[in-house]
């Protein structure tokens, strides 16, 4: 009990934004931090898992192959074919990588020792969102030409003419300006808030446990239980946010490919 009191005094309280920013390792500043290491690890682990799973594909799959095929099949059938339709096969590989990468980096938030998702650093979601942004504009321009693509992006042909002066700026801002921001901030904020919640209940539990008031010590149990519950919830959020990120990317691509806006 005295250990935890000592521990509690060392803990940062209350959780702050600065808790999300760690010093660079080996004096390499931001190039080599826990976050960049986690991203590299995610890339390596995903490559190893997928290549190993599909090294010798069999008609009756092994568990690894089955899992790899299931993830790919999920993105292909429930996102690709549902949202994009017949052109899906061109984008399913990218969407699958996106889903795996986001889900894996999100899950870091509840993996012991990692305990934080790289996506709590805005740079990573922003990078992915920009790739999706560039991609949907690129395929739209390639298919319909730049003028037609941007016109479709901002102009609603069914709306009455007198509304157009209002609608065109709104469409322009929502579709072409803030899309990468909303896409990335949604993911970033979910991961950031999730980590903050876990910090509050976990560190808060230790703070309560180390409190002088006996009743407050008892309350720490509630705090720990909530921390466990929130961890499970975070697992759900991690996958859900990956799904939403990919779903919206697919929707944007579909919108850019659509003949009519």
């Amino acid at each position: 009990m005295s250990d935890s009191i000592v521990l509690a005094q060392d803990l940062p309280w209350p959780p702050k934004v600065d808790d999300f920013f760690l010093d660079g390792l080996f004096g390499l500043d931001n190039w080599l931090t826990k976050f960049t290491l986690m991203v590299w690890l995610a890339v390596i682990v995903l490559i190893v898992l997928f290549t190993r799973a599909m090294r010798k594909p069999a008609l009756v799959p092994t568990r690894g192959q089955w899992f790899a095929e299931s993830v790919y099949g999920f993105v292909r059938d429930s996102i690709g074919k549902e949202i994009i339709g017949k052109d899906a096969h061109r984008f399913v590989p990218y969407l699958t990588v996106l889903f795996c990468f986001v889900a894996f980096t999100n899950i870091y938030g509840i993996i012991p020792l990692a305990q934080i998702s790289p996506n709590t650093h805005y740079a990573f979601p922003l990078t992915l969102a920009l790739i999706s942004y560039i991609m949907f504009n690129w395929v739209g321009i390639k298919k319909k030409g730049a003028a037609r693509h941007f016109k479709d992006m901002i102009y609603l042909p069914d709306a009455p003419m007198w509304l157009q002066p209002l609608l065109i700026p709104i469409e322009f801002i929502s579709n072409l300006v803030v899309r990468p921001v909303t896409l990335s901030v949604r993911l970033f904020a979910n991961m950031f808030a999730g980590h903050l919640i876990l910090l509050v209940f976990t560190v808060g539990g230790f703070m309560l446990l180390g409190a002088d008031n006996f009743a407050l010590k008892g309350v720490s149990v509630v705090s720990f239980l909530l921390a466990i519950a929130m961890t499970l919830f975070e697992a759900f959020v991690a996958i859900l946010q990956a799904y939403i990120f990919v779903l919206l990317s697919a929707t944007y691509i579909e919108g850019a490919l659509a003949e009519e806006h």
């Binding site: 702050k16 934004v17 600065d18 999300f20 920013f21 500043d29 931001n30 190039w31 976050f35 960049t36 991203v39 590299w40 995610a42 890339v43 995903l46 490559i47 997928f50 290549t51 799973a53 599909m54 594909p57 008609l59 799959p61 192959q65 790899a68 095929e69 790919y72 099949g73 399913v92 590989p93 990218y94 699958t96 990588v97 795996c100 990468f101 790289p118 709590t120 650093h121 805005y122 740079a123 990573f124 922003l126 990078t127 992915l128 790739i131 901030v185 970033f188 950031f192």
Partner: protein, 176 residues
């Protein structure tokens, strides 16, 4: 702004992380899209073909089995018909054979009866002949005993006996 306290604004991206994220994600995309996902698609395709091929094979086998069954049924029906015709034929043959045997037996019977009759006639002729001779001898003997030894020479002329017998011969046929 409270987020900016301590010098960090979480909404300002760290540019080195954008570089790291881009390179890492690009690497991941390259490897998975180039080497892994085509294999997954192939695997799906192989499975679809295996299932469809299996179904097709099953259908072919089913059709073959049906054809064979039809053939067997037809052959069975033919065999039944043939068996029935063989039975009928046999029955007809048996009837014919029976008739033949009966006819042969009847013929044989008639032949035997005829032979018997002939034999009978011949026997009667022989008997008659014998009887005549005997009767002549006896008559002569009787007459000689009645008339006496003297007549024996006359009778020896034989004509008397023969005439007598001829008379007997020409006697009414009803006595036969």
């Amino acid at each position: 702004m409270i987020l900016a306290q301590g010098g960090h604004n979480p909404l300002i991206p760290i540019w080195q992380e954008i570089v790291v994220g881009s390179i890492g994600f690009a690497l991941l995309c390259f490897v998975l899209i180039k080497f892994v996902f085509p294999k997954i698609e192939q695997s799906y395709q192989a499975r679809v073909e295996a299932i469809e091929g299996g179904l097709e094979r099953a259908q072919t086998a089913q059709a073959e089995a049906n054809t064979l069954l039809e053939q067997y049924k037809q052959q069975l029906a033919e065999a039944r018909a043939e068996a029935a015709s063989i039975r009928d034929e046999a029955r007809a043959d048996a009837g014919a054979i029976k008739d033949d045997i009966l006819a042969a037996a009847r013929e044989e019977q008639e032949r035997i009866i005829a032979a018997g009759r002939e034999q009978l006639t011949a026997d009667r002729q022989a008997l008659l002949h014998e009887l005549r001779t005997e009767l002549g001898t006896l008559s002569v003997e009787l007459a000689s005993r009645i008339v006496g030894e003297s007549l024996a020479d006359e009778a020896r002329k034989k004509g008397t006996v023969d005439r007598f017998l001829a008379e007997l011969e020409s006697a009414p046929a009803g006595r036969r």
